[in-house]
Amino acid sequence: MSEKILEVRDLKVQFRTDSGWVTAVNGVNFDVLKGKTLGIVGESGSGKSVSALSVMRLIPNPPGEITGGTIKFNGQNLLDLPLDDMRTIRGNKIAMIFQEPMTSLNPVYTVGNQIEEVFKLHQPNLNAKQRHEKAIEMLKLVGIPSPEKRVLEYPHQLSGGMRQRVMIAIALCCEPDVLIADEPTTALDVTIQAQILELMKKLQDELGMGIIMITHDLGVVAETCDDVAVMYCGQIVEQADVKTLFEKPRHPYTKGLMESIPSFDSTLEGEKERLATIEGMVPPLTKLPVGCNFQDRCEFVTEECRKVDAELKPIEENHTVRCFHPISY
């Protein structure tokens, strides 16, 4: 069993809106293990990005606030740390890659400048020349051709895939223990996505970091993650290792999600079946129903589901589900 580096318990994040407090993340628990990848999947608004931002303590306040729970990194609760101490961890021990490589790089600084900035902050003993050499080394690490030249270029001179590589380089500068990747390939084409995912896997093997992979693409999850948490309306509804989750999804939402992706095999057998869908849509966070959040879209709904919210309970070893009527196999 790998070592636990990050332990999130009962995380609750709320946002103040015109229509009162909205709970974006409600009692979320997860662990990140050394050298392993945890996938967090869910649709827009499910709270997956907010959970990740909380770990970095980057929730904009106001309007947002972490109102409960603990985030333990190597045994220390990050939520208790003074901001100055948090700054030494952020970008250093825990780093993050964002979805939009186009907007997360500063257009008026060279790529080299932006990589060197990390060293300036976290490794102040390096001089300018060493920093520059380190920057070139990082670009080489993420597979950018002719790094000596690229290091002097501006973001607009690079393609989308290259920019995402630069983002990864920046995140990995200090060899972080935890890397949070928030939809790292969503803005990229499939062939470039394949390159980036392979690169991340390779770097994980080399550096042994734990990764939190946030995505809505179940294909990406299946290919990159070891464990998966499925989120719906701010809660984790199911959590298991990747193989179990895909073979035996227990929560009706997880199952629905998997069936709504077209697969190639279905079309090989002549007549195409209709895609399975989940009826209705995600309820707005301001109008969550009493009881289970999924009740209005669920085919197994009973009176009980409309009264109380199920708890996230283990159904077998390493497999938890939040449902009164989990699907049995």
């Binding site: 393609s159 299946a222 869908t277 849509m281």
Partner: protein
């Protein structure tokens, strides 16, 4: 009447690049280069490719929303590139488009009812008051929205519902052909499936013909009877969708399909990871545009662009060294 609703021959769209003090032309981008294909009536042609390969330009050229440089677009046997402005406007009644972003393609100041009425006003359809009302209800029912939606504004709807409004707007003038330009890319998975099903039901009920553009190969493969693959403005392979997945001949098609992450853990499939990025269309590589990234490339590929090889009636590709 021919079997093919749409027949495109050697369609080319060239964007000049101007530079220098006098705005002289310094180069050109062939966003769509000599593309030919046909779509049988009532069927769907899927169009895939990476960003910048010209799929959107192609879709818009067909409706002359972007004026093509040369070539032929035959709709019901008539070359629409020869039509005058007013004739073309009348023709657009038969050909409609659905855009990618349902947040940007609906006017936030118009009610859904007004949005749906506008195309009918332009084309003078269903003029009577009762007739018009009946038609609006019919449209709303077809896309499975509530009838009270007609008095609401776009901001009151979710992404999936807005896309349904866009579909209803396209259907309002009773078109025969719809260009679907990434209609589900901006939607969540569970909603995406609903919209895909809706599009397929409408096709069956109304006998529509689609050009379905998307970069999600799983969706394209699912909805289309045939799929065309584009790379840097060229159509590199066209085949039946079932054939393309298992028996692609062009190396790019093969690489594209192998790059899709499949929702099956532990599936150890052969993966081809292409090196490098798509070259700039301003300065495409010589010969076959794909050769710098292709693992099958030979000297020949660097010099000449391969001609079309017709493998069967419905399957053709442009490659000197096709995969067996």
């Amino acid at each position: 009447m021919s079997d093919y609703l749409l027949e495109v021959n050697n369609l080319t769209k060239r964007f000049p690049i101007k530079g220098g003090v006098f705005g002289k032309e310094v180069g050109a981008v062939y966003a769509v280069n000599n593309v030919s294909f046909k779509i049988p009536r009532g069927q769907t042609l899927g169009l895939v490719g990476e960003s910048g390969c010209g799929k959107t330009t192609l879709g818009r050229s067909l409706l002359r929303l972007i004026e093509p440089t040369s070539g032929e677009v035959k709709f019901n046997g008539q070359n629409i590139l020869e039509l005058s402005g007013p004739e073309m406007r009348a023709m657009r009644r038969k050909m409609q488009i659905i855009f990618q972003d349902p947040y940007a393609s609906l006017n936030p100041r118009m009610t859904i009812g007004d949005i749906l009425r506008e195309p009918m006003d332009i084309h003078g359809l269903f003029p009577g008051k009762e007739e018009r009302k009946k038609r609006l209800y019919e449209l709303i029912d077809q896309v499975q929205l509530q009838r009270d939606a007609l008095n609401k504004y776009p901001h009151e709807f979710s992404g999936g519902q807005r896309q349904r409004v866009c579909i209803a707007r396209a259907l309002a003038v009773e078109p025969e052909f719809i260009v679907c330009d990434e209609p589900v890319s901006a939607l969540d998975v569970s909603v995406q499936a609903q919209v895909v099903n809706l599009l397929m039901d409408l096709q069956k009920d109304l006998g529509l013909t689609y050009l379905f553009i998307a970069h999600d190969l799983k969706v394209v493969e699912y909805i289309s009877s045939r799929v065309a693959v584009m790379y840097l403005g060229n159509m590199v392979e066209v085949a039946e969708s079932s054939e393309l997945y298992g028996h692609a001949r062009h190396p790019y098609t093969k690489a594209l399909f192998s790059a899709i992450p499949m929702p099956k853990p532990g599936l150890n499939k052969e993966r081809i990871i292409l090196q490098g990025d798509i070259p700039s269309p301003m300065n495409p590589p010589s010969g076959c545009h794909f050769h710098p990234r292709c693992w099958m490339a030979t000297e020949e590929c660097k010099k000449e662009y391969p001609a079309v090889t017709q493998q069967s009636e419905s399957h053709y590709y442009r490659c000197f060294n096709p995969i067996d």
